[in-house]
Amino acid sequence: MLCMAGMKLVSAFAAFLFCVSGADAHESIFAWTYTTDLTPKGHGEFEQWITPRWEKEHGSYGVIDFREEFEYGVTDDFQIALYLNHRYVYAKDDIPVANPTHPKKLLPGVFETGGEDVHAGHDPTKPFDSYHFESVSFESIYRLLSPYKAPIGLALYFEPSIGDQETELEWKILVQKNWLEDRLVWALNINYELEFEKETGDWERDGAFEWFTGISYRFISNWSAGLEFRNHHEFADAAVHEHSAYFVGPTIHYGGERWWASIGFLHQLPIGEAFSQDNKEFAAHDGYIFGDEHEKYYVRLKVGFNF
């Protein structure tokens, strides 16, 4: 199953960091939603993300996304970061098969191995099992308003990612509002993403608009708990609205002096809508949206260490 060498390496690195890190500052109280809190000027942070996501309409499908992130505070209001993205994928008979005589219709009850995370050229009759490096991302966040000084926090985010199969550009607007001595935090992210994906030798362009929102309350010292919501809209060729998918789930966060951790769960809600004929036929199933973009369940663990 999992790539053992990679697992041992990441485990050893995590153990090392748990032993030696000696500070704590900027931290994500949500698993998916960003706040406007940034790493202070002259300080850095390392984050490890682990995101298992699984279950499509049929067969077996599971991905574990790994991300190592190094952040640095250029000023108190401007932060840059470098990510390494890599993943483990297992897929078997997970996507519907098109009818050879009517390519816009599926063959009822027939499935093959495929999807966005399965390499182009893989034999669709066989299971796919791979651990591979995905991309490098560069992130920059500029904060316009701090929620501790102004009525709301406001920040702008830009992230290009470069990989051998996919190149992405992502923009976000981050909003934060605090109440109850900053123990109750609400955040909203409005995101737009342009993807350039390599499909059978050619580059294909897709667009995604999505928004995340989360609310979290620090119920005792060090511990916060909350709820997050995600709505994703996919656009083929960055123009044709294909679908809208909805997700919701709880998040719990621990913040200490030396490190912090957040873990969140998202469940796709069976209220998704497919708009394009292709998505109606191949991606929508019982109110869920699968296709290349979505799974039914997501868990994300983020652990951060400041220096």
Binding site: M1, L2, M4, M7, K8, V10, S11, A14, A15, F18, A23, D24, A25, H26, T39, P40, K41, G42, H43, Q48, I50, G73, D76, S146, Y148, K149, L180, E181, D182, R183, S221, N222, Y254, G255, G256, E257, R258, W259, A261, I263, L301, V303, N306
Partner: protein, 176 residues
């Protein structure tokens, strides 16, 4: 799940529930009293706030009253010593304030601070900004109180806490 896979996920989860072990108490109540009012005798005079008093303090300071009980000492020759706590990034920050007989701030001392950034709030220069402040002072971050990089929340909450205690003096202690 195989044993190695379990260990992979168990490591960060076990760390997640591990208690924080680096909390530091810089000053005890006795040490804070001697630092602010050296050579003076202090008499415990705890205050239990009635709901109308809480409301009056909140209206005067613009800061919510979290606890209706306040640790207060009366100082021989005039003045007050108060131990208070405000919300920090992760835990409560405990600090002490000395008030002169006229209600102005004599000095503040940070007794307990558990946040990584913003340890500078213990520095004499940052605390000195509060000396002489009264209930009429603005006590606003970036206006008459300087912020500390990476610790805006802690700075604002201590500033708000001092504003609230000055209102406590004006509404309750001055009349006792």
């Amino acid at each position: 799940m195989r044993k190695s896979e379990f260990a992979f996920f168990a490591l960060p989860v076990s760390a997640l529930v591990a208690p924080s072990t680096f909390a530091v108490q810089y000053l005890t109540v006795d040490q804070a009293q001697r630092a602010i009012f050296p050579g003076k005798s202090l008499t415990a005079s705890p205050v239990k706030l009635a709901p109308p008093q809480c409301k009056a303090i909140e209206q005067a300071s613009g800061v919510r009253v979290l606890h209706d009980e306040q640790q207060v000492w009366r100082v021989s020759g005039g003045g007050w010593f108060i131990v208070d706590e405000v919300v920090g990034k992760h835990e409560f920050i405990t600090y002490a304030i000395g008030l002169n007989a006229n209600g102005s701030v004599k000095r503040i001392e940070v007794m307990d601070y558990r946040e990584t950034y913003g340890g500078e709030i213990r520095n004499e220069n940052w605390r000195a900004q509060f000396v002489g402040k009264t209930s009429q002072s603005p006590l606003k971050l970036d206006r008459d109180i300087k912020n500390i990089s990476g610790a805006t929340l802690s700075c604002r909450h201590i500033t708000d806490g001092v504003k609230r205690l000055l209102a406590l003096h004006e509404i309750v202690l001055k009349r006792s």
